[in-house]
């Protein structure tokens, strides 16, 4: 490839690492893993995300041993001793204490006198849990719908594709708020299982559901193409059943697409949960989540900026972490993939 005048515009500077080493039995996933290992930036951000997740999982430990209070314990009229001084957790005018940088109320308190650091960690647990569950729902249902629609085509595809279009045409946030508000009031009652309006699974199910077309459409497109490939024909000629073909021929080829989608969907789910909670249609009190904490903080903005900055920073860090890591995964799996983080 001639690259004289603008060498930077070359797709890839020739370098020894890029040519696959002739190692016996190194499959595409091993190669991908090695490429990922060399991508320090993505690994670093991935580590950030893991650290945040670990911290949030350790929430009960922090609450019990360091902060000595739970996420829902109100301390409106209590006082706290910091460095010899006794201070009100919440002033008589209703202003909560700022960060104390000590064990109790490390990052300050909110209007109800609750420890922000404790709520941050518990809230993180909730936001992350919703992110993971929603992503699982999206990926499983999208793979099923997209796969079935793409493979069977015909009337099945028509119906499924129209349903996907329908969900997609519904403005995402509106659908989320509408479902969130009505289900928060009444819960989900489908005979087989019931969820109370307060359950965390309600926003998880809603977010998971809303993003199905986002993944299902590309999956459907890919399956439509895959099904015409030779190896599928070969499998069919061999007399393998449809289910077997889907499982052993189609799915593995979808795998890299699906793997690339996972971090992206986790990021989207966390962001959508924050948005829904801001509008009151997401996580319900008293469960904390980063979104509800930011919403409460915005209401008290000018005088107690820590109420907004703390959960906001945590949320952005976590989402950034998984986004950058997700990019790295995409790069590693598919070197011909167009989107890269600069080296």
């Amino acid at each position: 490839m001639s690259t004289e005048l603008l060498p930077q515009l070359a797709r890839r500077p020739a370098s020894p690492q890029d040519s696959p080493r002739p190692v016996a039995g190194a499959g595409p996933y091993t190669l991908a893993f090695r490429r990922l290992r060399r991508d320090r930036v993505s690994l670093a951000f991935g580590a950030v995300f893991l650290v945040i997740t670990a911290m949030c999982l350790a929430a009960p430990l922090y609450a019990h041993h360091i902060a000595h209070t739970g996420p829902a314990d109100n301390h409106v009229t209590d006082t706290v001793r910091i460095g010899g001084q006794t201070r009100d957790v919440v002033s008589p005018d209703g202003l909560p204490i700022g960060p104390t940088w000590h064990g109790r109320f490390f990052l300050g308190a909110d209007q109800n006198g609750r420890d922000i650091a404790v709520r941050l960690l518990y809230g993180g647990r909730n936001s992350l849990e919703i992110g993971f569950v929603a992503t699982a729902i999206t990926m499983i249902l999208a793979t099923l719908t997209g796969g079935v629609a793409g493979y069977f085509r015909g009337p099945v595809d028509s119906v499924l594709a129209r349903v996907l279009d329908l969900i997609w045409a519904f403005p995402v946030v509106l659908l989320g708020i509408a479902l969130g508000t009505s289900l928060a009031l009444g819960g989900i009652n489908l005979g087989l299982f019931t969820l109370s309006g307060n359950s965390l699974l309600v926003p998880a199910v809603i977010i998971g559901f809303v993003y199905i077309p986002y993944v299902a459409k590309p999956v459907r497109g890919q399956v439509l193409a895959l099904r015409e490939r030779e190896f599928v024909d070969a499998a069919r000629l061999q007399g393998l059943g449809t289910l077997r073909i889907l499982w052993s021929e189609v799915l593995p080829n979808l795998a890299s697409t699906l793997i690339v989608f996972v971090p992206l969907m986790i990021a989207n789910a966390i962001l959508l949960e924050a948005g829904l909670s801001y509008l009151g249609a997401g996580v319900q009190p008293p469960n904390p989540s980063w979104g509800t904490m930011i919403a409460d903080g915005i209401a008290l903005l000018p005088s107690a900026i820590h109420l907004t900055l703390v959960p906001g920073a945590m949320l952005v860090l976590a989402v950034l972490g998984i986004n950058v890591f997700g990019d790295g995964v995409r790069d590693a799996l598919d070197p011909h993939s167009p989107i890269r983080l600069g080296h």
Binding site: V90, P92, A299
Partner: protein, 551 residues
């Protein structure tokens, strides 16, 4: 009302001359001028500007100075504003001995803001209009005026219990039973006269003509409107109702209370609507920069948690007492950023019958007795009972409920909050099917009469939908007392003050509710409005007809 305003300024002027240098002197003794415009910012739009539909304070602020009823209230702050005075009527009504017939005569020569004459027959038409339009308080008419209920259900085409004579201007109202507070009922802005020909449809976007110092014009729904002076009012010479100093008052709906408060602080707008919550974050600034134009005004209101006596655990009196022992009212004051006065009795300060004795379950200003509360819950064997605590999304009510939930958990219950949207809140907890055990409730006086508050503990008010007696109080002693006390005419209220106090102390001991305070509202104006003479009415908040610009 001009006379009263001048007197206040006069007194203030003397006080200032006597004590030179007091900061408060600056505004009130300064000269004021006639005319001009003021801008009011409101965070919540009125439910309806149509006088026969409006039921919120935001609506009342506009309606009561545009639609004067037969009777109205004195344009004064504090207790003085609870005094009933004749409005469009010549005098206070003549009440028959049995308390069931009220007679008034319309003032002569009255005209509406469009110049047309006011007739006595406009009064029953106005009441019919309020009923037809399903005004939120229409039960006050249909429960007491003969024939009003029949009109409501369509069985009759007019209210038989009201007879009028257009030539003499006499109006006679027959009641189904004696009702002491009926004078207050005729003083509602919803009973503010409009022409009989006014269509019985929602006219909020183009309100009908009325009799009052101002009229509502230029309505942009959810965005605002303008009050302009009614050119025909001053010549009517109705005593004790101010003619109004300002030429126009522009009202803007903003929904961002932060910017609302900031604009008033920086003198870019003239008033912060008292119906909104002043952001706690701006309080320190307001108190330092604007101390001469900011005050907290108590209005007779009760903020409480209902304790449903029909379901567990609050059908057990020990559980209810435990709640009353455990609540720390100081916490609510903080959550309200100081805009709450701690109370424990159901009848608030400012209403005749408010008990002055000690609270039955610990001091309202001091620390709660958690140990006693926990003990009571244990004794009743109710530890671990699941309780759903209902609340509204609006701040600080959501915060009140979150605090209350944590208290319930501390004393041994398993409580979880259920916060729902404001607009569906009361219909939800007022629906018997919900079976709400406990939750937020409040009551602002409809009129300054204890019978208004005791509606909420009257067994007769219990209904399967839109119930207001959330605790489902059904107590024979309460019923027998109410039967006596509700019949006492509003003008003779002081004579039964002692009985009302005893009743209120009784219900407090029964712990039917967990009362924690009375709301305080902000009177917060710009430097352009004369603060001292601006009336803050206990019912209708900012009295725009008393505002004048500083010179």
């Amino acid at each position: 009302m001009r006379r009263k305003a001048t007197t206040t300024t006069g007194v203030a002027a003397i006080a200032c001359l006597a004590a030179v240098g007091i900061a408060a002197c600056g505004s009130s003794a300064a000269s004021t001028k006639e005319g001009g415009t003021a801008t009011v910012l409101m965070g919540t739009a009125p439910d309806f500007l149509d006088p026969q539909e409006g039921y919120t304070t935001q609506a009342a602020e506009a309606d009561w100075i545009s639609y004067t009823p037969l009777l109205t209230y004195a344009h004064a702050s504090g207790q003085g504003g609870t005094k009933l005075i004749p409005g469009l009527a010549q005098d206070l009504p003549q009440v028959s001995k049995d308390g069931k017939t009220y007679t008034v005569t319309l003032r002569k020569g009255l005209v509406y803001s469009d110049g047309k004459a006011v007739k006595a027959s406009d009064f029953p038409a106005t009441i019919e209009r309020a009923i037809k339009l399903n005004w939120g308080g229409k039960s006050f008419f249909t429960n007491y005026i003969v024939g009003a209920s029949a009109y409501d259900t369509g069985k009759s085409s007019s209210i038989s219990g009201i007879t009028t004579d257009d030539t003499t201007g006499q109006i006679t109202i027959h009641l189904t039973q004696p009702y002491g507070a009926f004078d207050n009922v005729i003083a509602f802005p919803a009973a503010g006269l409009v022409p009989a020909s006014t269509p019985k449809t929602n006219l909020s976007n183009n309100p009908p003509p009325g009799v009052g110092p101002y009229m509502i014009t230029n309505v942009s729904p959810n965005r605002g409107w303008t009050m302009v002076k009614n050119p025909h009012f001053a010549s009517l010479g109705i005593p004790n109702i101010p003619n109004g100093h300002l030429d126009t008052i522009k009202v803007n709906i903003t929904s961002n209370t932060q910017s609302e408060a900031q604009q008033v602080l920086e003198d870019q707008a003239d008033a912060f609507d008292p119906g909104d919550t002043l952001p706690a974050s701006l309080l320190p600034q307001i108190q330092s920069k604007a101390s001469g134009r900011f005050s907290r005004e108590t209005i007779p209101s009760t903020f409480y948690f209902f304790l449903n006596t029909r379901t567990a655990p609050f059908n057990n009196p020990k559980a209810r007492q435990a709640v009353n022992y455990a609540l720390d009212r100081r916490a609510f004051v903080r959550l309200a950023s100081g805009f709450l006065k701690p109370e424990c009795y159901f009848l608030p300060d400012g209403i005749t019958g408010h008990p002055t004795g000690n609270c039955p379950y610990g001091s309202k200003d001091g620390a709660p007795d958690l140990a006693k509360a926990q003990q009571l819950v244990k004794q009743a064997g109710l530890e671990g009972t699941p309780v759903t605590v209902w609340g509204q999304t609006r701040a600080p009510r959501k915060q009140y409920v979150e605090y209350y939930t944590s208290v319930l958990n501390k004393i041994g219950f398993k409580a979880t909050p259920k916060i729902i949207s404001d607009s569906v809140y009361f219909p939800t907890i007022g629906n018997a099917k919900t079976g709400a055990q406990t939750g937020f409730a409040d009551w602002l006086q409809d009129f300054p009469n204890p019978s208004d508050f005791y509606l909420l503990m009257n067994a007769k008010s219990i209904q399967p939908v839109n119930n207001e007696n959330f605790s489902n109080v059904n107590d024979p002693h309460v019923q027998s007392e109410l039967a006596k006390l509700n019949a006492v005419p509003a003008t003779k209220l002081d004579s039964v003050k002692g009985e009302w106090q005893s009743l209120d102390q009784y219900t407090a001991k029964q712990a039917y509710q967990a009362v924690y305070g009375s709301e305080e509202l902000p009177k917060f104006l710009s430097t352009r409005i004369d603060f001292g003479s601006a009336v803050f009415h206990p019912l209708y908040l900012n009295d725009w007809s008393t505002w004048q610009l500083t010179g």
